[in-house]
């Protein structure tokens, strides 16, 4: 008798599982890879909830004007794309804006045309002058500060933060000079990143470096979810872009300049990916071969938006107040699919994507496949009812048998 009872139980459990796996409703969630396209790469989206940026200029002295302009260009970009000053740690080793040699006081330009002042009237430099040291930089990354360090000098990121680390300065094979006196090695950076990973201080990290032999700086990195890119290969120099005759110094480096060519057209809603950014790198213009290291990075670069690192996450706050959506006014409801802001540059992307057929990774087609919500919605209550009936039936039968 008992054997019969247990048999019934086992069979019912097996039935239950078969039912669960078969139903349309559940399969969407249990086998995401098959149907990923249906939900438009939901699982390939970054899972971050906040963005941080660490922007470091390591070189001092007036003639290194261009390095400060590099950093401030990126600073302007991330600020424009919505990362607030409280989430940006800016390290500048010297003060060129108010340097007595600067003909245009309180300004830093990255172009000889001098149309855009990068310094602006709203800037917060967190570490400046002598404070820019290897010790402070590693303390910042790893969060091992002295107790009195103010909040503005700390990287308060968590395991849901996407962190952009941008560095520029003078470097060589496997090292980057800080202020002409000390240097950070590629091993130091790799270990600092590992400590960040162990302490859950990032979700994903983009390491970008504009210096000579840049690729050697990220060659030792071994922590997961790190994407790295640099201006040149090991053994190559990186070069400055152009000179402002009135300032008397070069105002920007080539690699950063051509990055900005793309970044300047990125808006917060832009769907441009990092793969697109990397595809724009032209060796004949940059004069060195930029390096990209993505072996530690899980996601497909074709699905990583530029704004995942250079822009801020828009927080959506739910309010108690609702909006009535009546059937009659269906046409008034904005169609999100049509109205997504597609700037002109997005069209450019597609053009470029079409022209470049020699992609490493298949390009993303921005298509929304409609999910049949009706079907799935119908299935789920039926499935629930069925399973309840099944279980109650089994219990009823087992009682009768007893």
């Amino acid at each position: 008798m008992r054997i019969f009872q247990t048999h019934i139980y086992i069979i019912s459990i097996i039935f239950f599982f078969i039912n669960v796996c078969r139903s349309e409703y559940s399969s969407e969630f249990h086998f995401p890879n098959e149907r990923e396209e249906i939900i438009d790469g939901f699982f390939s989206k970054s899972r971050h909830t906040n963005n941080w940026a660490v922007l470091v200029d390591t070189s001092r002295y007036w003639f290194n004007y261009r390095h400060i302009a590099n950093v401030l260009s990126i600073y302007r970009t991330v600020k424009r794309l919505g990362i607030p000053d409280s989430n940006i740690i800016l390290m500048l080793a010297d003060d060129v804006a108010c340097n007595p040699r600067n003909r245009f006081q309180a300004t830093v330009y990255n172009n000889a045309e001098r149309k855009l002042d990068l310094y602006g009237d709203n800037i917060e430099v967190d570490y400046r002058g002598y404070e820019v040291t290897v010790e402070n930089f590693i303390r910042l990354l790893t969060g091992r500060h002295l107790p009195d360090t103010p909040r503005s000098k700390r990287l308060l990121s968590d395991d849901r933060s996407n962190v952009l680390v941008y560095m520029t300065g003078h470097g060589g094979e496997e090292f980057l000079k800080f202020q002409d006196t000390e240097e950070i090695s590629s091993y130091d950076i790799a270990d600092a990143f590992e400590q960040m990973w162990e302490k859950r201080r990032y979700n994903e990290l983009l390491f970008m470096i504009d210096t000579c032999q840049a690729s050697s700086m990220f060659s030792r990195v071994y922590s997961p979810n790190i994407l790295a890119t640099g201006s040149s290969q090991t053994g190559q120099n990186s070069y400055s872009h152009h000179l402002d005759p009135e300032l008397g110094v070069a105002v920007i480096d080539r690699y950063t300049y051509y990055n900005l060519e793309t970044l300047e057209y990125v808006t917060l809603q832009s769907q441009k990916t990092l793969q697109y950014l990397f595809n724009t790198y032209d060796v004949s213009l940059i004069h060195s071969t930029p390096g990209v290291r993505h072996d530690l990075f899980e996601r497909n670069l074709n699905k990583v938006l530029i704004t995942d690192f250079f822009g801020a996450v828009n927080n959506i706050e739910l309010t108690l107040k609702g909006y009535k959506l009546s059937r009659g006014s269906e046409n008034d409801i904005p169609d999100i699919k049509q109205n997504t802001i597609r700037d002109k540059s997005d069209e450019k992307i597609e053009k470029i994507n079409h022209n470049n057929d020699d992609h490493l990774i298949p390009r993303n087609e921005y298509k929304m496949i409609k999910v049949d919500f009706k079907k799935s919605a119908m299935v789920s209550p039926l499935f629930l009812l069925g399973s309840i009936a099944l279980i109650s039936g089994i219990i009823f039968i087992s009682k009768i048998v007893n």
């Binding site: 108010c98 309180a106 310094y119 002598y130 103010p150 202020q179």
Partner: protein, 578 residues
């Protein structure tokens, strides 16, 4: 029964809380209030240079026990929280770019040294050293400056030079710390957080004129924040916190004006027009100080002012009240008609102070301080205060204090107090404080010599070839009141700062360690190689050789013996032969 009890208790609690909260709301607003006032004063400092002083004052009522409330209305929370955490009673911080040209501009009524000056008073019931370093770090975060570099080795506790500007009970015990950084630059990144402390920021009111491009393109720029406690009642039981933010700039009209015109206005100086007043301000004024004697023939005001106020004997203020809204989107300034007759408005107390460096080369040096009293009818009582960093070794026996008029100057009659604290390496600087009297129409000089120290490798800054900074010395002139225009008009002293000095210290060749490593490695390699060679060599006796020769006749040699050993043995043989 039980339920009833619960209901009655809960209703009682509810009633209690509602009554309490109503009382709180009604009285809370009356008891604690913040206020804000803004003012801009402009005047001709010399023929072509214009002084503009912005003054923003915020107050916040304190609780009965003189602690900070949690009701922040206008007062910046960033400051309030720091004050609470580090038990700060009052603090003063100034950022200055360019030095005050006292030859042409007269006395600086808002005296500051070049770079950053920072001093604070703390509640003496707590550990002041700890609070001082904590406050320096916190302030460095608020103002984006490297104030955190003012540590114990750069700070001092002056005895006679500084008095607290705030008002205190007899019960309150306070302790002071002073420090300065003459090398610290001032730029937009310091102005940005400074403006953010204002209730309207730079969006409305007088602060709207703060244009960083214009402000940093001036001959002199000084920005400060002073926090002091002020008594409300006569017994000083109730207090307010008063935060005064000041920007004092000297514009060079020669450079700014396009056609060499000496007229000036808010638009020509700041590039902006006035955009109304800050709505939360109780007082919003622009004042132009004018020479009374000049008359209307020499200048004409662009807008007619609300009223005139007399300031001193010869000068008057044209006051523009912005709260009347009459001057919105208008340009306020002075059209100068008779360019040759501009009378600069300056103040002077007839004291000149210089500090210079003597000696040459990188081994020894000295300081010479000259204080010249130009007054014919007045002796001046002053205090000289100097913080000299520990990297110069001062010889106390080399001190010379002389006066051109008095021969026996170095006695108690003239040098009233002499405080000297020798430096301890890496721990504290040399502190020098002298209270003295400078007789009328005479010059006092202080001279002393020092040695320049050799520092440790890590003590050198990245740009040590530039030299090491010694901050400004402070000369406090006692028993003088300037009145209006001074930061706190009731104070009876004036400060004069000397210019900072850069000392060139002997800097090592920083590639030296690498040279040492390569040299020593070469020597070790040579030494080790020869020694190893000598120790491991086998000297083969003659007997063996004979055997080998015999063997050689019989067999083909498989392994040739080492050449050196052969030659050595051969030599021995030859020696023996001889």
């Amino acid at each position: 029964m039980f339920k009833k009890k619960i209901i009655s208790i809960s209703s009682f609690i509810f009633a209690y809380f509602t009554i309490f909260s109503i009382i709180n709301v009604v009285y809370g607003e009356n008891v604690y209030s913040d206020s804000f006032s803004e003012e801009l004063t402009m005047k001709n400092l010399s023929e072509t240079e214009i002084l503009a002083v912005f003054n923003f004052t915020q107050t916040m009522d304190l609780k009965e026990d003189n602690k900070i409330t949690s009701y922040y209305q206008l007062f910046p929370r960033a400051i309030g929280q720091i004050v609470e955490k580090y038990h700060v009673k009052e603090f003063h911080i100034t950022f200055t770019r360019g030095s005050w040209n006292s030859y042409q501009w007269g006395l600086n009524t808002l005296p500051v040294p070049v770079g950053v000056e920072f001093y604070a008073y703390f509640d003496a019931n707590y550990d002041t050293n700890e609070n001082w370093s904590g406050l320096a770090n916190a302030i460095s975060g608020v103002f984006c400056a490297s104030v955190n570099y003012i540590d114990r080795s750069k700070s001092a506790k002056p005895n006679y030079s500084f008095k607290p500007s705030g008002s205190y009970n007899e019960e309150e015990k306070i302790e002071m710390r002073y420090g300065s950084l003459s090398h610290e630059g001032v730029c937009t990144e310091n102005l940005t957080p400074w403006i953010k402390l204002l209730p309207c920021q730079s969006k409305m009111g007088i602060a709207g004129l703060l244009n960083n491009y214009k402000l940093f393109d001036t001959n002199y720029y000084s920005m400060m924040a002073h926090l002091i406690p002020v008594c409300i009642d006569s017994e000083c039981k109730h207090k307010q916190l008063q935060l005064t933010q000041i920007i004092s700039t000297v514009f060079d009209n020669k450079r700014i004006s396009k056609n060499g015109n000496k007229s000036w206005s808010t638009e020509s100086l700041f590039g902006k027009k006035i955009s109304s007043y800050c709505p939360v301000s109780t007082n919003s004024k622009i004042k132009i100080e004018l020479n009374d004697s000049d008359g209307e023939n020499n200048y004409r005001l662009i807008q007619s002012p609300s009223r005139f106020e007399s300031s001193t004997k010869d000068t008057k203020y044209a006051v523009y009240d912005l709260i009347s809204k009459r001057y919105d989107n208008l340009n306020i300034g002075v059209n100068i008609i008779n360019e040759k007759n501009i009378q600069p408005i300056q103040k002077n107390i007839g004291l000149e102070v210089y500090r210079s460096q003597s000696g040459f080369a990188e081994e020894y040096g000295g300081f010479v301080v000259t204080m010249k009293n130009n007054n014919i009818d007045k002796d001046l009582s002053i205090t000289y205060f100097d913080i000299i960093p520990w990297f110069v070794n001062i010889y106390f026996n080399s001190f010379k204090i002389q006066n051109t008029k008095v021969k026996d100057y170095q006695n108690d009659q003239y040098v009233n107090e002499f405080y000297y604290e020798p430096a301890i390496e890496h721990v504290n600087p040399t502190i020098l404080e002298m209270k003295m009297i400078i007789p009328r129409d005479s010059t006092t000089t202080i001279e002393f010599d020092f040695d320049k120290k050799h520092l440790l490798y890590a003590d050198y800054p990245p740009d040590c070839a530039r030299g090491f900074d010694v901050g400004s010395a402070v000369v406090t002139v006692h028993n003088i009141t300037l009145g209006e225009g001074y930061l706190y008009p009731t104070e009876d002293f004036i400060r004069i700062y000397t210019e900072p000095i850069v000392i060139i210290l002997p800097a090592p060749d920083f590639s030296m360690p690498y040279n040492v490593i390569t040299y020593s490695c070469t020597i070790i390699a040579l030494f080790f190689g020869s020694m190893y060679n000598a120790y491991t060599r086998r000297y083969i006796p003659l007997v063996v050789e004979k055997e080998e020769k015999e063997k050689g006749k019989n067999e083909t040699q498989k392994i040739p013996p080492p050449k050196d050993s052969i030659s050595a043995t051969e030599k021995e043989e030859k020696d023996k032969d001889k």
